[in-house]
């Protein structure tokens, strides 16, 4: 690892000021960034640790919206949302492993936008609002391809607001070595329709499967998905799964998610 300075602000305002410096980078839980730095794939001159910022911690539920601070660890979300949004709690409780879940944060995951990460599927399927130090971004406008988001340089995810669905379920086909999703599908049913978000599959990162959404909005039953499939074109391929395999898994996991959501 190349050396860097570490700054530990205690407020969002101080963190934003520190990130204004050239080659400064935000450090959430570090569960992706620290391994990346070890491989010398990044060389910031300064890391601005967000873990000491109290205003970015914790959760609250109000009028059907669950708000989670950007610095909240996966384990905290898993424990704290079991009653208010069980599908989200289950997702958070199955990221990585227990020690990773004690450090990794929701804001860090969404800012990184790994194409196989779990949280992007939850945010997109829930029509969440990504709140930053500067603005509010709808999930539909936020994810912008592999490891790319609408975030500007130095912008911090301070909070994520999830409208709580009537029912929801996340099905993750775990890639056992990395614990990321080989494919993951999040299905969420709202009074005005069903949203289906897919992670781990597309070369463009997380996406909504609109054909399945239309079918499920008309009839929320796994049978409604019979005959629907996605083209393997544009899917990721690696030694763990071909394009066709991933495309097939999306259909299977979507059906399972609908069946499990009830």
């Amino acid at each position: 690892m190349y050396n860097f300075e570490v700054e530990q602000p205690t407020s969002v305002a101080d963190a934003v000021a520190a990130l204004g410096e050239e080659e400064a980078q935000a450090l959430g839980g570090g569960q992706t960034l620290i391994p990346t730095l070890k491989q010398r794939l990044a060389s910031p001159s300064k890391l601005v640790s967000l873990s000491g910022i109290a205003e970015m911690q914790g959760m609250s539920a109000d009028a059907g919206v669950l708000s989670i601070g950007g610095g909240t660890a996966h384990a905290t979300v898993a424990a704290g949302t079991a009653a208010s949004y069980p599908a989200l709690a289950a997702l958070a409780g199955n990221i990585g492993d227990p020690a990773v879940r004690n450090r990794g944060t929701i804001g860090g995951s969404l800012a990184n936008n790994d194409p196989a990460a779990c949280y992007p599927a939850a945010a997109l399927a829930s029509g969440a609002t990504i709140v930053t130090n500067a603005r509010e971004i709808a999930a539909d406008d936020y994810f912008d391809g592999l490891f790319t988001t609408a975030l500007e340089e130095g912008e911090i995810v301070t909070q994520v607001r999830f409208p709580v669905p009537e029912v929801a379920n996340y099905q993750k086909f775990v890639q056992p070595a990395s614990r990321f999703a080989l494919v993951g599908v999040f299905v969420a049913k709202y009074p005005d329709g069903v949203r289906v978000a897919v992670t781990g599959a597309s070369e463009d990162g997380v996406f909504r499967w609109s054909e399945a959404e239309a079918a499920l909005s008309a009839n929320f039953n796994a049978d409604a998905l019979e005959g629907l499939s996605l083209s393997p074109d544009g899917m990721m391929a690696d030694l763990h799964g071909t394009k066709a395999y991933r495309a097939h898994l999306i259909s299977v996991l979507t059906k399972r998610a609908v069946a499990a959501a009830g």
């Binding site: 690892m1 190349y2 050396n3 860097f4 300075e5 570490v6 530990q8 450090l27 570090g30 569960q31 620290i34 391994p35 730095l37 070890k38 890391l47 640790s49 873990s51 384990a75 990585g96 492993d97 227990p98 020690a99 990773v100 004690n102 450090r103 614990r179």
Partner: protein
């Protein structure tokens, strides 16, 4: 270099760290607590698991500076001052929960964290909790058995007698 101070195994400890100094390196090289092992250094293997403010973390994937002021517990703090093993350690010995022993510090620290949250875990819950701790001797059955025993549960039903 920055001076970093924390409480390690109940005692104040401090040393010098660069920005990039990992908590695992700080414990091993500055504080000379070499019981915390670094197996992979890529946050896969869990040999480096310690507790920071009461929760299990991979110390190879946390900066030492971030542990400023924290309560850190390592394998060195688990036995009593006279060397008497604690319940989890004794169970690992009784049930042969180690072969080469390299992964053991992380296994014991993860097991202790699990039992704090879930004092009577099922075999399945133990196996799931150890997802981030690799034993390349593949001695998992006896590790699971040791953790079951440490939680005061019957171990006779566990596979691979």
């Amino acid at each position: 270099m920055t001076k970093v101070s924390m409480t390690v195994n109940g005692k104040p400890a401090s040393g010098e760290a660069e920005g990039r100094t990992l908590l695992s390196s700080f414990l091993r090289e500055e504080l000379e607590l070499t019981g915390t092992h670094v197996g992979c250094d890529t946050s896969q293997c869990g040999a480096c698991v310690v507790h920071v403010n009461g929760v299990a973390v991979k110390s190879c994937t946390m900066l030492a500076i971030e542990a400023e002021g924290a309560e850190v517990a390592t394998i060195e703090g688990q036995a009593a001052a006279d060397g008497t093993l604690n319940t989890v350690q004794q169970a690992f010995q009784d049930h042969h929960g180690l072969q080469c022993g390299f992964c053991t510090p992380g296994m014991v620290m993860s097991a202790t964290a699990l039992l704090k949250d879930n004092p009577k875990p099922s075999e399945q819950e133990i196996r799931e909790y150890l997802e981030g701790n690799l034993c390349r001797c593949t001695g998992y059955h006896n590790i699971v058995k040791a953790i079951m025993a440490a939680s005061g549960q019957d171990v006779s039903a566990i596979a691979a007698e």
